[in-house]
């Protein structure tokens, strides 16, 4: 027999909230509950550090691979190797350009990422381990430059700063799909469009159940 789905995931209290929203929708999202306080500018600044491809949150400062090499040797090479080659499980950071479509792809941060800002953001956010947040913005620019230089993406003397970092064209810039990413579900409320393929595939599946 086939079972009818029973959905009780939306509780009655939620329905009440939904109803409430229906009422306030006309008021263009004015606050309903009047809780929370306005953050100070400093509070927002302290958490406004996420850096995306347009780099608009990047702070002032600058650095080159030459400067980055010293910082990298002191603070990064222990885990990631002298030349950013990685040491499993510590990520390979540079190298492997041109291998992604081979049977043995060598993914590294610099060869795989579509945007250089990701390297800056992650170093600034999470590195070095156990001393996160201790690098100055210029040091982060410098280490980023070192990794990109080791990957052959920029020159050793190229200066990375707020402006030049976002202009770096990464070797795998167009390696991801869908591009742009899916930001809305399809009409059936699905965020993964190809599941319904299975039905068609199964029509032709003679060895169903096996590998």
């Amino acid at each position: 027999m086939r079972f009818t789905p029973i959905s009780i995931s939306r509780s009655s209290s939620l329905l009440a909230v939904v109803a409430l929203f229906a009422c306030v929708a006309a008021m263009a999202q004015s606050p309903t509950y009047k809780m929370g306080r306005t953050p100070t500018e400093a509070e927002v600044r302290a958490w406004d550090h996420a850096v995306g491809p347009d780099g608009k949150e990047l702070p002032p400062g600058s650095g080159t691979a030459v400067e980055g090499a010293k910082i990298y040797a002191a603070k990064c090479s222990f885990c990631h190797g002298k030349n950013a080659e990685g040491n499993f499980p510590f990520a390979r950071l540079a190298g492997g350009v041109g291998t992604l479509n081979t049977p043995t792809p060598q993914k590294s941060a610099a060869s795989y990422l579509p945007y250089a800002t990701t390297i800056w953001d992650f170093i600034n956010r999470a590195m070095p381990r156990d001393a996160e947040g201790t690098l100055s913005p210029s040091e982060v620019y410098a280490v980023t430059a070192f990794i990109l230089f080791k990957n052959g993406t920029i020159k050793e003397t190229d200066v990375l700063d707020k402006k030049s970092l976002v202009e770096v064209v990464m070797p795998n810039r167009y390696g991801f799909f869908p591009d742009p990413p899916q930001s809305k579900p399809d009409k059936d409320h699905s965020w993964l469009p190809y599941w319904d393929q299975v039905k068609d595939l199964r029509q032709n599946d003679k060895a169903f159940g096996g590998r």
Partner: protein, 456 residues
């Protein structure tokens, strides 16, 4: 508790009475508890060391030894025990202490909820900071949802499992196959406030289309998510299974993104910025993307496909005699409610419907049960599920084919599988049908990953 009633709960009379017991402890608390039929001097009390404090929170019987298992691969070195013991789960809810976890850093945050706040800013009319007390004053919801790690059931975990068996045999021998391969999924009742409600309090500006969510762990785990999903069913959760979140589950506050891969469910949630594009964080680019043999990788694909798994009997179980067994397992889908689970006991030739445990919640583990008589011959058993939209769980080959067809040019399934076998990559979105082979000796073994051509 009625303290005057001399009934079988008399041992709970009160602390004075308990303190007066010379020996005596609570049978369901201590490790060396008596067998149920052993005579006792007082009903419900055993001659055991008293650990009265245990009653303040409660614990399980010392006879119960199931635990989360060590993560396979390099994490062994940390001693982290993070994998849900699916082979021993009962019903549809995962106890919080069994809930899997992924820790991408060395430290488990220990956050004082009095100090913790949630900041919402960016493309909003009114940036706001909420305290934990305020968040708990908002209208709350409780919903049952599964949470599954992006890489769960991936071939990469089988590789780690094999390599661990070689490198750390002492540790690996205790890790059950089903835990190592599939133990990154759990289901809980989550309680919190809708993210959409908080966002509306702040007034989302037109043009906004994504959010960036960040945790206050040392790594400051960050994730971009489409605003459309956030305005739908995402919960800012502080409760799990009737109590506060466990520390390893993001105490005091986390995102719970129903039906979406684990990496989205930002723990220790501290900061949300409303933005107009995804940010391409490390956690959504170098990891959690899905590389194909043609060198192209999918990105920002988070919805978990329809998936089911027999948890008894499974690899490592032993059937000691012929006769009746209840085949049971879990089914879930990131898109909707499970509407059907079928079980085959003849290697996929014929299928029969299993009984689904009700109520069935959307985007939650659903327990299924199936009556079976084992006649002592070799058998391959497996389950497959369908969700309310008619999406069906693929075989391993179908999964590979679907992935090969995800973009032009299409790639044959065999080539995709070979790539998974040989390339040193993480592959995600794994929801293949998992067959278990029952031998004539009653042993139960994996009949999928074992057949892959993998060298470690």
């Amino acid at each position: 508790m009625n303290s005057t009633k001399p009934d079988r709960r008399g041992f709970l009379k009160g602390s004075a009475a308990l303190a007066g017991l010379a020996v005596g402890a609570i049978p369901f608390v201590n490790g060396k508890a008596r067998a149920a039929d052993e005579p006792t001097t007082k009903r419900g009390v055993t001659p055991d060391d008293p650990v009265i404090e245990d009653l303040a929170y409660g614990g399980r019987s010392g006879f119960e030894t199931t635990t989360r298992a060590h993560s396979v691969g390099v994490l062994n070195a940390t001693g982290l025990r993070n994998l849900t013991p699916l082979q021993d789960t009962i019903g549809a809810i995962t106890p919080s202490g069994f809930h899997f976890l992924v820790l991408r850093e060395q430290h488990l945050p220990n956050i004082d909820p009095k100090e913790h706040t949630l900041l919402i800013h960016g493309m909003v009319d009114r940036p706001l900071v909420f305290t934990m007390d305020e968040l708990k004053r908002f209208p709350s919801v409780s919903e049952v949802h599964f949470l599954e790690c992006t890489g769960n059931s991936g071939v990469m975990h089988y590789k780690s499992y094999l390599s661990d068996m070689k490198k750390y045999p002492d540790v690996a021998k205790d890790v059950r196959f089903i835990q190592a391969l599939h133990g990154r999924t759990s289901s809980s009742e989550w309680t919190g406030v809708r993210l959409s409600l908080l966002l509306k309090e702040c007034g989302v500006q037109s043009g906004a289309s994504w959010i960036v969510a960040e945790g206050n762990d040392t790594e400051k785990h960050a994730k971009s998510m489409p605003l459309e999903k956030c305005m739908d069913d995402v919960i800012v959760a502080y409760g799990q299974n009737g109590e506060a979140l466990r520390r390893e589950q993001g105490y005091p506050l986390r995102l719970l993104v129903p039906g979406w891969q684990g990496v989205n469910n930002v723990k220790y949630l501290r900061n949300i910025k409303v933005v107009d594009k995804p940010y391409y964080f490390q956690s959504e680019t170098t990891a959690y993307t899905n590389l194909r043999p043609d060198g192209k990788a999918s990105i920002y694909e988070s919805q978990v496909g329809p998936k089911s798994l027999i948890t008894f009997p499974c690899d490592g179980h032993q059937l000691n005699e012929r006769g009746y067994y209840q085949i049971t397992g879990l089914a879930w889908s990131g898109r909707g409610a499970i509407s059907r689970v079928e079980v085959s006991t003849d290697n996929g030739r014929t299928w029969k419907d299993a009984v689904l445990q009700t109520p069935i919640y959307r985007k939650a583990h659903t327990r299924f049960r199936f009556d079976w008589n084992w006649d002592g011959s070799e058998a391959v058993i497996m389950s497959r599920c369908t969700n309310e939209f008619g999406d069906i769980q693929p075989t391993f080959t179908e999964l590979a084919q679907m992935w090969g067809n995800a973009r032009e040019p299409h790639i044959p399934a065999a080539e995709v599988i070979k790539f998974w076998e040989t390339a040193n990559i993480s592959e995600f979105l794994n929801n293949p049908i998992q067959p278990w082979k029952i031998g004539k000796d009653g042993s139960v073994k994996d009949a999928l990953y074992t057949n892959l051509n993998i060298k470690v």
